[in-house]
């Protein structure tokens, strides 16, 4: 019984890793209706920036804030410079641009920072730890929930959030009501990058910082975001936690480590077959 408890809580801890990146994916989707495959690498790059600042002597929280800000600016710049020229290209062409961005960021990070793993500090005091979860794992989960709450409030209750959702949903009508669609997109990218940076800084102390840190996590985050519903931040977090726990329990007690990923994915796709828009995703209704 204790073993199950351990695996469950370890699953929640890993799940919050997936959830935090899934939030960034949902963020970018809500702003642009596209899934940015380079989100993980952007988060990794931002974490390296934070690491460089901390290594140069800056304190944790100043480095954290500066990195989140820097990531925001980077996101806006990437949207304006890299994504803007292919705005009107077919969707798949934009996906290829994301892939290009992914490999560039990965390769450049490896070149600048090398591939040896780096430790990343955790800001959470030891008092936060529970019997089965380390202080950082608890802290990371809390931060993910906090970001979720902030995003929810932003999109639901602020005019800016509404404008962003409108711009992604219906750019033509939004322009007619005076929303600057172009800037909404850039803002969306900036915010997604910032959320990604937070995710990266929460994840790095657990998995260690290296250029390939996010590649495995991206897959899980993608599955989690879709499981929860690609336009639901709450769904993304729930999806992430479910995926984490599911994988751990499958691996430890059901199918063994070799095939746990396969079974988990089959189950997720199975859920999607029954509920094609995920747990909380809004069902797509299109007028004919």
């Amino acid at each position: 019984m204790e073993a199950v408890m351990f695996q469950l809580l370890a699953g929640l801890a890993t799940g919050s890793i997936y959830a935090s990146l899934a939030l960034a994916l949902v963020m970018i989707y809500q702003a642009t209706h596209l899934v940015n495959f380079a989100q993980g690498e952007m988060a990794m790059f931002a974490t390296y920036l934070a690491w460089s600042l901390i290594n140069a002597g800056m304190g944790y929280w100043p480095a954290f804030c500066l990195t989140v800000l820097g990531a925001f600016v980077l996101g806006v710049l990437i949207e304006r410079i890299v994504i803007r020229p292919v705005e009107n290209a077919p969707v798949l062409a934009v996906v290829v641009v994301f892939i290009g961005l992914l490999v560039i960021l990965n390769s450049v990070a490896g070149w600048i920072f090398s591939y040896t793993i780096k430790s990343f500090p955790s800001p959470f005091p030891p008092a936060l730890g529970l019997r089965y979860m380390s202080p950082h794992q608890v802290g990371a989960l809390l931060v993910t929930l906090l970001v979720l709450a902030l995003l929810y409030v932003f999109f639901r209750f602020t005019p800016l959030g509404l404008a962003m959702r409108a711009a992604a949903e219906n750019p033509v009508s939004s322009r007619l009501v005076g929303i600057r669609v172009g800037w909404m997109l850039a803002l969306g990218w900036g915010l997604a990058a910032a959320v990604g940076a937070v995710a990266g800084m929460m994840v790095a102390p657990i998995v260690y910082l290296d250029p390939n840190m996010m590649s495995g996590i991206l897959l899980y985050a993608f599955a989690a975001a879709l499981l929860g519903g690609i336009d639901s931040p709450g769904g993304a977090v729930l999806g992430g936690l479910v995926v984490g726990v599911l994988e751990n329990l499958l691996g430890a007690f059901v199918i063994g480590n070799e095939l746990k990923l396969v079974v988990a994915l089959v189950l997720i796709v199975g859920v999607l077959l029954v509920r094609p828009s995920g747990f909380f995703g809004s069902v797509q209704v299109s007028r004919v």
Partner: protein, 402 residues
């Protein structure tokens, strides 16, 4: 008159009797001025961390060329990216052999990559020398006379740990964590073989992981709950650090054997937490650049100067840079021994006749020896235990040499 003629006649007789000394023989890839060496390495893709080895070797040969080359010939080191994908390795190997016409293929990296070109290289009779993988299959001179490994193979290393366990803790309950690929499974096999028929009873838990997984925390919990008191940790650096930390944090205190691939103090133990790695046992054959033991070691000082001058972009903490330096030095020796007979045949012959060749970046007591029936250059390792600051060697150098 006769007296002056005698030395001339003697010289003429000598030249006629030893024609090889006066002749130069070249195979494709060698000439009076250059020796072309081919290599494939993953500079892109998920295994790009190993690309550091290719870069270190390239830097080494730049140094050799600055010193005048090998027997007066410059080394042209041609290395291509294969992204750790066997089809790409096949393509690049064919390019090196058929288009660039290199003398030999050196240190191509990766077990699946080398498996893919194994038959081809032997069919073409081009040396596949000092491959960068510890798989056991490269030591097969009878069937594959053109392929030779370099580092101690994984099964040998695992057997050393198994033997140590049988000697010190014969009633051990062992848990194993391994990477689910060729490298991990090779270690596992050697370990099970080393324990003998009782391995079924001794190994109470096995857990595997994929490189794409974020953490191995779940696996560590599984292993801990098996009640094992010995832990064999077959992981690459990132996961090794996670495993060491997770084991400690969960309160599990087994006798911890760590595979050689991940025993760097600076790159693995420090991120895990030096205090969490106390007692870790591993084996070594190369000096760790982050271990304080070698801070004033003359060989490592030379290595650091080399890194500063020729490989300044690289990470000094990365043990791959010492590995690359050492294996390149081995090739330099082989090519030196070839003299002016730079044929592929002679390259393999010289590679198979290294007699206790010593490189000072290897641990003291470990030397390189090969023979026509022994294609395993380094077969010696020494066990060492981590005391919280550095590794302490214990026991003797354990050698598998015949």
């Amino acid at each position: 008159m006769k007296r002056r003629l005698l030395p001339a006649v003697a010289l003429l007789a000598a030249t006629l009797t030893f024609p090889a000394l006066a002749q130069k023989k070249y195979d494709p890839g060698a000439s009076d001025t250059e020796i072309r060496i081919g290599n494939t390495n993953p500079y892109s893709g998920p295994a790009s961390a190993y690309g550091a080895i290719g870069k270190a070797i390239a830097a080494y040969f730049r140094m050799v060329n600055d010193r005048g080359g090998i027997n007066g010939r410059k080394v042209n080191f041609m290395s291509y990216d294969d992204g750790y994908s066997p089809p790409k390795t096949v393509e690049m190997a064919r390019k090196l052999v058929e288009q660039d016409e290199v003398l030999l293929l050196f240190q191509s990296l990766g077990t699946p990559s080398n498996t893919a070109i194994h038959k081809y290289m032997n069919a073409k009779k081009v040396p596949q020398l000092f491959v960068a993988t510890g798989a056991t299959k490269w030591n097969d001179p009878k069937n594959y006379p053109w392929t030779m490994g370099w580092q101690p193979n994984y099964q040998t290393e695992a057997r050393i740990y198994a033997r140590h366990i049988l000697q010190t803790k014969p009633n051990a309950k062992i848990a194993v964590l391994y990477q689910n690929d060729d490298y991990g499974k090779d270690y596992l096999k050697g370990f099970e073989d080393g324990l003998g028929p009782q391995h079924q009873n001794m190994i109470v838990a096995k857990a595997s992981y994929e490189v794409s997984e974020p953490t191995v925390d779940s696996q560590i919990l599984q292993l801990k709950s098996s009640g094992a008191d010995v832990f064999f940790n077959i992981t690459t650096p990132k996961f090794a650090a996670q495993a060491i930390r997770a084991a400690y944090d969960s309160g599990w205190k087994p006798v911890h054997y760590l595979n050689n691939v991940s025993n760097s103090v600076g790159s693995v133990l420090k991120p895990a937490g030096l205090e969490k790695a106390v007692g870790v046992i591993t084996s070594a054959y190369v000096k760790d650049p982050t271990d304080k033991r070698w801070a004033n070691d003359p060989a490592m000082k030379t290595w650091r100067e080399f890194m500063a001058k020729y490989n300044a972009d690289a990470d000094l903490q990365d043990p791959f840079n010492v590995y690359g330096y050492s294996v390149a030095a081995t090739l330099e020796q082989v090519l030196k021994q070839c003299g002016d007979t730079l044929t592929r045949d002679n390259v393999m012959k010289q590679a198979a006749s290294l007699k206790r060749f010593r490189i000072d970046t290897l641990l003291p007591g470990i030397a390189i020896s090969t023979s026509p029936t022994d294609y395993a250059p380094i077969e010696a390792m020494q066990l060492e235990r981590f005391n919280g600051h550095e590794f302490e060697l214990f026991g003797e150098v354990i050698s598998n040499e015949q």
